[in-house]
């Protein structure tokens, strides 16, 4: 079991979700995060004062999947999320030791 975390641009979420669906990934968890990196932030102005805001809204996807599928999932996300512009995001793969479905108590592959 692996965990794939992907940080993507928010407006790409629908595309990524559909692409993952197409390759059989039917479960995931997402959250709103803010990213800091090479992509430059934006200026905000309030009552004559200017601020540079470095943190940019991103969406984080978390997908638990079998080890065998990792490459396919990573490729799929990469293609769907890519706009060829700085700030498109990153994908991280982490090891997972166990997965349990709350409702049934099933473990491992069965739990996904």
């Amino acid at each position: 079991m692996k965990k794939i975390e992907a940080i993507i641009k928010p407006f790409k979420l629908d595309d990524v979700k559909e692409a993952l669906n197409a390759i059989g990934i039917k479960g995931m968890t997402i959250s709103e995060v803010k990213g800091y990196g090479r992509q430059k932030g934006h200026k905000e102005i309030y009552r004559g004062a200017e601020y540079v805001v470095d943190f940019i809204p991103k969406v984080k996807l978390e997908i638990i999947t079998e080890a065998a599928l990792v490459d396919q999932v990573v490729d799929c996300i990469r293609q769907a999320a890519n706009t060829d512009k700085i700030g498109d995001g990153k994908i991280f793969v982490l090891p997972v030791e166990e997965v349990i479905r709350v409702r049934t108590g099933e473990k491992g592959k069965e739990a996904i």
Partner: protein, 404 residues
């Protein structure tokens, strides 16, 4: 001078002013949060722009001494001669008070159009558009109906501005969405309102202000204003009910946005009729308005144009229905200075009403189209695709609506 009338018109003017911030919130709640300020700003800035235009030349062009029924002349530029004595338009309130009241109408009309073009127009282009549209479309049409122009003379009934304000802005909205095109992702992504309580708040302020708008159009605190206030209330209420009923039948649920939209549709439809019809007729007008505008809004998706916040469906269709309904339901039993409509033995009024509406639609559609094409060809109308993703707030104003 009559202090009661003046008292009423002072307050009515203030109430109509409040409609523009109300509209800003009504629209602001319906856009995505990245566009909330941009949307609000397009409305709010009309309070500034039009106030200056009005004093400079607007009032004179709309209400000044008539030139061939089409436009006012420039005698009252800078409000020269528009003073504190009773004026040509009322014998009980100061001329300047009539001018103030009308200013508030002139402010909200271009603001109404912002609902159609929401989430994609450059702010600079919007400013330019507003100046040109007000000058070339609003002022003439206003003159035609109320300033001594040909439409008013023809006998068309428009109590509080169904033609001048709603049909006019609705037609302009249609032209605008055709020229501007769709928002990125329209029809694919789900583009949801970000804050519906804000929209309901805006509706409440609009409804409140609309009493000033419609009842104030009597220009006096008397029976006529009373009638207008009453018909306004019940038409709005009936339309709120009827919109939610229609959607329950077609989609299974009565929505809050439906109730709010219905209320506005009812307010729009009763606007031309408010001082000419009975309370029961007002309810019927409202009931039809709610269902009709709902169907118009549903039809939009099928016609495939992106009238973002449904200005055409609500103000265009609702205003048109109101103009025709006035031709159907008007009766001299409630207002001896009005006229009888179709159901009161005078079918000809309906024709006059249709003609008035048609003229306004045609003029507004064509002029708006030309103005927007001209702006597009020069300074450009739309923000870039990338700016659209980021939103109006950051790209046009360097601000964001909310920070948690």
């Amino acid at each position: 001078m009559n202090t009661g009338d003046i008292a009423f018109m002072l307050v009515a003017s203030a109430m109509v002013m409040l409609m523009t911030p109300g509209l800003a919130l009504f629209y602001g709640g319906m856009v995505r949060s990245k566009n909330v300020l941009g949307t609000i700003m397009q409305n709010f800035i009309c309070l500034g722009l039009i106030s200056i235009i009005w004093v400079a030349y607007g009032y004179s062009v709309a209400f000044g001494p008539d030139i061939s029924g089409f436009i006012g002349n420039l005698d009252w530029v800078g409000l020269k001669g528009v003073g504190l004595t009773v004026g040509p338009y009322s014998s009980t309130i100061p001329h300047l008070l009539f001018c103030a009241f009308q200013l508030m109408f002139a402010i909200i009309t271009p603001a109404l159009i912002t609902g159609a073009i929401a989430e994609r127009m450059k702010f600079s282009a919007f400013l330019l558009f507003t100046v040109l549209w007000s000058s070339l479309v609003y002022l003439p049409v206003c003159h035609w109906v109320w300033g001594g122009g040909w439409l008013g003379k023809m006998g068309a009934l428009d109590f509080a501005g169904g033609t001048v304000i709603h049909i006019n802005s609705g037609a302009a909205a249609l032209a605008a969405v055709l020229v501007l095109g769709k928002r990125k992702g329209w029809g694919k992504e789900s583009i949801h309102p970000h804050n519906l309580p804000m929209t309901v708040l805006g509706t409440g302020l609009l409804w409140f202000g609309w009493f000033g708008f419609n009842a104030g159009s009597a220009l006096a605190a008397g029976p006529l204003a009373t009638l207008a206030l009453f018909t306004t209330q019940v038409a709005a209420g009936a339309a709120a009910l009827s919109w939610t009923l229609a959607e329950t039948m077609l989609q299974g649920k009565p929505t809050t946005l439906g109730a709010a939209s219905g209320a506005v549709a009812g307010l729009v439809a009763i606007t031309p009729a408010a001082g000419f019809v009975s309370p029961v007729s007002a309810i019927l007008i409202g009931l039809v308005a709610g269902t009709l505008c709902y169907l118009a809004v549903v039809a939009k998706s099928k016609l495939g144009y992106d009238d973002a916040l449904d200005v055409v469906g609500v103000h265009g269709v609702g205003g048109l229905w109101g103009a025709l309904a006035t031709g159907l339901f008007a009766t001299t039993t409630v207002n001896p200075n009005g006229a009888n409509g179709f159901f009161y033995g005078n079918p000809s009024l309906l024709g006059v009403q249709a003609l008035g509406a048609g003229a306004a639609i045609a003029y507004s559609l064509i002029l708006t189209f030309i103005i927007l094409k001209a702006i597009d060809a020069t300074v450009g109308l739309r923000i870039s695709a990338e700016e659209e993703q980021q939103g109006l707030d950051l790209t046009q104003h360097s601000e964001i609506g909310y920070t948690i």
